[in-house]
Assembly symmetry: C2
Homo-oligomer: 338 residues x 2
């Protein structure tokens, strides 16, 4: 029921995902009338779908604490509840991010060995593959333990989404020298450097101007800096494309040039289109919950559904656990706490 | 002597600034032979110039602690020393930022009422005027007191550069609701909200995707987040323009379109050109020190020189002091410490 458009685009996205993957089955949670109406446009989907009616919704501006109250009756709460009960393998929501995090954390609990879950997403780069970045805002303040755990979770996510055996991992910092940044970053870097046999290639620090170059597979940071970086990226991409549009409209000559070079600007739009990179994931919980962007279209929703399916099929939880075991057997993480 | 090009571009930039402002006088600090050679190309400048020979330079990769040792013999150390002695009104350097900060802090000391200086810069926006942003990396960790002081310094800088009587000021956060972000941010926001008579219009929190919209005149943050945001902006601007270039080269048709719309892309390049926004400033010291970008051309250097001159002419130090007095008479800042 969440997002800018609601049930209609979620059902259309599911239909698109189902078109690509015959085995997918859906439980739509929300207002039954709206969902039935939306399903009419997708007759092939109905056979693979069930509806779970929810009386209430979590509003877009509800605070996490508000969302937790009465969550048993909201579509978001009931969808996450279906993951908890095992009725479904994963939940996808386009609703309020903070509320989804709070509800998921309470219902699913964090995995053994993980102190706090993190929000991870795929961001576009100059290279062919996206970069995994986390935490993007779930935890405003993080200690070194959190950063080490986020690295393990991010690497597991990258192994599944990129298919690399040992993805490269770097911590976001304000310089690449060992002495840069906060104590938490330095302790986390030491802990990762001194762990053997991890399913990642830890390469130290990186800076925010390298996020889009694609020089690394996974970038790890605290939720405050991650959110700042993500929004700075979004804002600047919009800023530059708006400036470009304005420049193109500045004279008749450039208008003509724009029309002729349209395929080029379309290519740019396609590469930056958030719908092609949709599906932010809450990592570190006992279950798979994917956050679809509120403004995602059906292609974006289908992408989010596919991300959820891959994480389930490729056993994201087991992969995280395996690496956590290796870290704790090598490094006394307690000593690494800030 | 600093920056990618060294003495030649600094002298050329000074010549350009002098061409625009007849009253400017220069003391060039560095290798006398190189400076004399560079001055040959600018005969009109020589009459308004003196040279102070320095035996040594601070290298681009020197750590601040290294730069401090023997700084009496380096061009950077001697230039800042000339500000301290009152021989010059301001220093402009294109060298190592961390070293310049350390040397300036030690030589000039922080102003009364300021705990820590901050690095401020002007960034391009969708509107006609740039946004002032600080701290951009001088202080990796900040408490609420620092953030309040940065707000006062940023507002004073904006009053001089923008000419606004009461510039709008916001704190960078991961959401705009009062409850968002760290305790330091919340305490700082309260302190600014509850201060009367400040020469600023404090408007609460903003997010990183609003930096480039120009909706606010001054954005204040800690040095870690500020550096992350600044580098994310730079990296994304490069990413989008590179993608655009690549798209334009993807077919003959778009190549032709590109040639025709060249004035538009030139306009974009001009708007984003760092040389038009050059001149990062260390605020909060007993003297004016401006950091010119290492890759700035002569136009960029002239810009940095003009920023330095305006800060001196418009008495930046007095303006900061005035507002600090108002804050401390209204809010017990001690109570606002993190």
């Amino acid at each position: 029921m969440g997002g800018d458009i609601g049930a209609r685009v979620m059902v259309a996205g599911a239909a698109l995902a189902r078109h690509r993957h015959e085995g997918f089955q859906f439980l739509f949670v929300g207002n039954e009338t709206e969902i039935k109406e939306a399903l009419k446009s997708h007759p092939n989907l109905s056979a693979a779908s069930e509806i779970l009616h929810a009386e209430d919704i979590v509003s877009g501006d509800a605070k996490p604490s508000q969302a937790l109250r009465g969550s048993k009756k909201t579509s978001m709460g009931m969808a996450v509840g279906a993951v908890k009960s095992g009725e479904v393998s994963a939940a996808v929501s386009a609703g309020n991010t903070g509320a989804l995090m709070a509800i998921s954390k309470l219902a699913l609990r964090t995995m053994a060995g993980i102190d706090r879950p993190a929000l991870a997403a795929l961001l576009p780069t100059m290279k062919d593959s996206d970069v995994v970045m986390l935490d993007l805002g779930a935890n405003a303040e993080c200690n070194s333990r959190n950063l080490v755990q986020f690295s393990v979770m991010g690497a597991a996510y990258s192994r599944i989404m990129h298919g690399f055996e040992k993805p490269t991992v770097k911590l976001l910092n304000i310089g690449t020298e060992d002495s840069k940044g906060t104590g938490a970053l330095q302790v986390a870097a030491d802990a990762l450097k001194n762990s053997d046999g991890l399913a990642m290639d830890f390469q130290g620090f990186t800076e925010a101007d390298k996020i889009s170059t694609g020089e690394v597979d996974v970038i790890v940071t605290d939720g405050f800096s991650g959110n700042i970086a993500l929004k700075a990226l979004e804002g600047t991409a919009r800023f530059v494309t708006d400036l470009l549009k304005r420049s193109f409209l500045s004279s008749l000559r450039s208008k003509i040039g724009f029309l002729i070079s349209r395929p080029a600007t379309e290519l740019l739009r396609e590469h930056l289109d958030p719908n092609n990179h949709n599906g932010a994931v809450f990592l570190g919980l006992n279950g798979v919950v994917v956050k679809s962007h509120g403004s995602a279209d059906e292609k974006g929703v289908a992408n989010a559904v596919e991300v959820a399916a891959r994480l389930v099929e490729d056993s994201i939880l087991e992969r995280i656990s395996e690496d956590l075991d290796k870290i704790s057997s090598v490094t006394p993480l307690e000593a690494a706490a800030k």
